[in-house]
Amino acid sequence: MRQHAIRIIKVGIIQGQADSLSYIKMTVRVLFFGATAEAANAREIEISLASQSTAADLIDELSATNIALRNYKLLFSVNQEYAPPSTILNQDDEVAVFTPVSGG
């Protein structure tokens, strides 16, 4: 199933039809903590994104739905490991979006 989906994406790119990628969706789980939980008014949501979306794309998507995260310096983790904004997300990933940590 998954291999088949990847093959379609490659064909789309080769033929210059990058727009077709947006038809292939995936779902990721997004967790918020502290300041981002207050901004999102949620601790956890599920969101549908175009296949091959990055963590930065996720923030664009959330901002489009009025979750005011752009005011914050944000860090990401994907599946409980720190990840840069350019990280490509996969179906069922656990993505956390949070501000610089302040424990201790």
Binding site: G34, I59, L75, Y82, P84, V101, S102, G103
Partner: protein
């Protein structure tokens, strides 16, 4: 044995050190971090700590491993309190056992510095006249979001 824990109950500071002391060691350094009443002249009423617990425990265990590779130490114990804390209550305990004290002091200082930078725990300060999520240190550029 190393250990890393989070807890919503008060921390028994002495028990952290006792868990990590092996017979071949000569010194254990323990940091007892607790809630300060005044920060930059402003009075704190209480604090609330929130964690991304599974990742926080993983990051604390990583710190113990990294400390052991960098310093001549034997064992590390880290416990972080979560939830509401009153003034003077212990928020974090780091105990480092080592054959000699110098390495234990250095490792303990290194671990608390890294913990404040990398372990996903956040502190909300509640003042008489408002509340705010404490801003953490600037992250490494490779994990910051350049768009925001």
């Amino acid at each position: 044995m190393d250990f890393a824990e989070s807890t919503f109950e008060p921390i028994d500071v002495g028990s952290v050190a006792r868990k990590i002391v092996p017979p071949e060691c000569g010194a254990t350094v323990t940091l007892d971090g607790y809630v300060r009443r005044f920060t930059k002249g402003r009075e704190t009423l209480h604090l609330v700590y929130e964690a991304y617990e599974p990742m926080a425990l993983k990051e604390m265990a990583k710190l113990a491993e990294r400390a052991k590779s960098q310093f001549e130490i034997a064992n590390v114990g880290i416990v972080h309190r979560l939830g509401k804390l009153e003034i003077g209550e212990t928020s974090v305990v780091i105990s480092v056992a080592a054959p000699h004290r110098k390495a234990a002091f250095e490792a303990c200082e290194w671990i608390i510095r890294e913990l404040k930078r990398t372990v996903p725990i956040w502190k909300k300060e509640i003042y008489a006249d408002g509340e705010t999520w404490a801003s953490g240190e600037e992250p490494d550029t490779n994990i910051s979001n350049s768009k925001s």
